[in-house]
């Protein structure tokens, strides 16, 4: 017999009280772990999306242009100065895809041509769904959905610009973006059509990876190309991340409230237990238990409950997060252990903190006061 065993025996005797004491901690930890796991996985999913974007930095000619407008009414702009980018600039940064945009008359229809290396189409625009081939050879084009409809062309057909014919390698499924009305071709073909050999409208830099310091990369590219305007295109993803952050904050707030209630439940039930056990505590004091021993006894009792309910809550939280992941758009659910470990430690600490006031009260009970009830 020792204090730990005495505490354990008393817990077994009052199972329903022990369950009630642990319920608050269990719910709080399960909520915290589930929400933290889900938000953590959502962050991972956002990063995956970011990676799949392909590029997140655009390098375009620096143009000091003053935008003129009033509210939503655009009144044009005043171009003050202009720089040019060339294919030689590509060699000064790595992992880049050059683009050239130009307007060309095709079969009497004035369309925008997007030129990029024919072998880079799939990598630069991974979200494009193409009917036909994605890889372009010189003399081949992809047609946006609207452009294909306008020209009445499909894969295997040809389009003619002046004296030159281009074979339609594929047609993009509608994207809802400007590409729908464009013709996509190898950049060399577009440079030839625009009569601008070596010209580039902008570069897209695929510097994306999880936790990449994109802003630093932007700054470095800016230093390398003083004549270029370098900007990160992560607003969409950032807004998604902001939504996830908000969800995380909401979840943490809810968890904190549930945990607070759990702590109060521990305090109230343990305090009630002390009240009920005044006589028992008196007997223990009479047979020589020090104040510290009584404190320790109450601490062990609450410690056992807190430990089991925290572990159970952490396990339940992990399971709930795993099962609920598809609901939150997480394609590949995984088990995230860090919130569970933190939650288990927090639950145990919370239980022990909640037990301090009643344990102190029990320890301060005068044996005489307790003996008077005998």
């Amino acid at each position: 017999m020792n204090i730990r065993k005495l505490a354990w025996k008393n817990l077994l005797r009052r199972k329903s009280r022990a369950v009630f004491t642990g319920l608050g901690i269990f719910l709080g930890i399960a909520t915290f772990v589930a929400i933290s796991s889900i938000t953590s996985q959502m962050e991972g999913a956002v990063q995956d999306q970011l990676d799949r974007f392909g590029a997140n930095i655009v390098v375009s000619p620096r143009a000091e242009q003053v935008s003129l407008g009033f509210g939503n009414i655009a009144l044009g702009g005043t171009e003050v100065a202009h720089s040019r980018l060339t294919m030689e600039d590509k060699d000064r940064i790595r992992s880049v895809v050059p683009f050239l945009m130009t307007a060309v008359d095709v079969s009497g229809k004035n369309l925008v041509w997007m030129g990029l290396p024919g072998t880079d189409v799939a990598g630069a625009r991974p979200w494009w769904k193409i009917q036909g081939r994605a890889e372009l050879q010189p003399g081949e084009v992809l047609l946006g959905a609207e452009a294909a409809a306008l020209l009445g062309k499909g894969p295997g057909r040809t389009v003619t610009v002046g004296s030159r014919s281009y074979r339609v390698a594929g047609v993009l499924q509608p994207t809802g973006e400007k590409e729908d009305g464009m013709v996509v071709a190898d950049i060399a073909d577009v440079q030839a059509l625009a009569k601008k050999p070596g010209a580039v409208t902008y570069f897209e830099v695929a510097a994306l990876c999880k936790d990449c310091p994109v802003e630093d990369i932007v700054a470095q590219i800016g230093q390398a190309l003083p004549g270029a305007r370098v900007s990160a295109i992560r607003q969409v993803v950032e807004s998604r991340k902001a939504a996830v952050d908000q969800l995380r904050r909401l979840g943490l707030g809810v968890s904190a409230i549930v945990l607070l209630i759990g702590g109060l439940m521990v305090l109230v039930t343990v305090m009630g237990g002390v009240q009920e056990r005044t006589r028992e505590i008196g007997v223990l004091r009479a047979v020589g238990f020090r104040k510290r021993s009584i404190f320790s006894l109450l601490f062990w009792e609450t410690g056992w409950v807190s430990l089991f309910s925290s572990l159970l809550g952490a396990g339940t939280g992990i399971a709930v997060a795993y099962l609920a992941s598809p609901v939150f758009g997480i394609e590949h659910p995984s088990v995230v252990f860090s919130p569970a470990i933190f939650g288990a430690v927090a639950g145990l600490s919370l239980g022990l903190i909640g037990a301090i006031p009643p344990a102190r009260r029990a320890a301060s009970l005068s044996p005489t006061e307790a003996i008077r009830t005998l």
């Binding site: 017999m1 204090i3 077994l12 005797r13 004091r285 009479a286 020589g288 021993s293 044996p367």
Partner: protein, 237 residues
């Protein structure tokens, strides 16, 4: 012979909301090692208060209490707890066993704080239970024991540290006379080994075992009489 218990002008006054009640009004007496002292008195005479002071369960509001070399008036709370654990065995009228522990575990409770192997604790508890006639009933819960058996477990618990002084507050109060006699036999046996016994009781039949009789009245010693000689080889603290 040095007294094992020394009381000098011990008083106990309870106060609440301006009302003062004197439970003990300056009691003085000494108890020699090996005495079997029976303390009697009417309800409210202060005998239970006296026993709780002697047992280190509360500190008097006045006077000095010394047991062995320990001045109880000067001991801090933890010191009193250690004193109760090592020097005093206390037996209550209503046994006060922990209902969720077996007889063996109840006897082992005072050993909870000791750094002794579990096996040794079990052996000591079983030996004590056997000495009070409960061999074979070690694993029974208090609810499975009779009143007399429960009181025997309580006595075994009180004796677990082999205390030089055993104190009992109406130990036979809840028992029939035959069972009460068996319990008194245990106290006599313990006293026969030279240990000091202080027993508070209403029952004059218990006087037959005592070597000394003290009667309290209104918080004062009304009568203090020797009944027989204590054992030849008393045990000091």
């Amino acid at each position: 012979m040095e007294p094992i218990i020394h009381l000098k002008d011990v008083s106990m006054v309870y106060g609440c909301n301006g009302t003062r009640t004197t439970a003990l009004g300056g009691i003085s007496f000494d108890v020699l090692p090996g005495e079997f002292v029976v303390i009697t008195g009417e309800s409210g005479s202060g005998k239970s208060t006296l026993l709780t002071i002697l047992g280190g369960l509360q500190v008097p509001t006045g006077g000095a209490v010394r047991i062995g070399v320990a001045d109880l008036s000067a001991l801090p709370a933890d010191g009193l707890a250690d004193f109760r654990r090592e020097t005093i065995g206390f037996v209550f009228q209503a046994y006060h066993l922990l209902p969720y522990l077996t007889a063996r575990e109840n006897v082992m409770v005072p050993m909870s704080l000791e750094r002794v192997s579990p096996r040794e604790k079990v052996e000591r508890a079983d030996a004590l239970l056997a000495s009070v006639g409960l061999a074979g009933k070690e694993d029974r819960l208090p609810s499975q024991l009779s009143g007399g058996e429960s009181q025997r477990v309580a006595i075994a618990r009180a004796l677990v540290h082999d205390p030089p002084v055993l104190m009992a507050d109406e130990p036979t109060g809840n028992l029939d006379s035959a069972t009460g006699e068996q319990i008194l036999d245990l106290f006599s046996e313990w006293n026969g080994r030279g240990k000091t016994v202080l027993m508070v009781t209403h029952n004059k039949a218990n006087l037959s075992r005592a070597t000394r009789f003290i009667r309290l009245r209104d918080g004062q010693v009304e009568e203090d009489r020797m009944l027989q000689s204590p054992p030849a080889e008393p045990v000091a603290v």
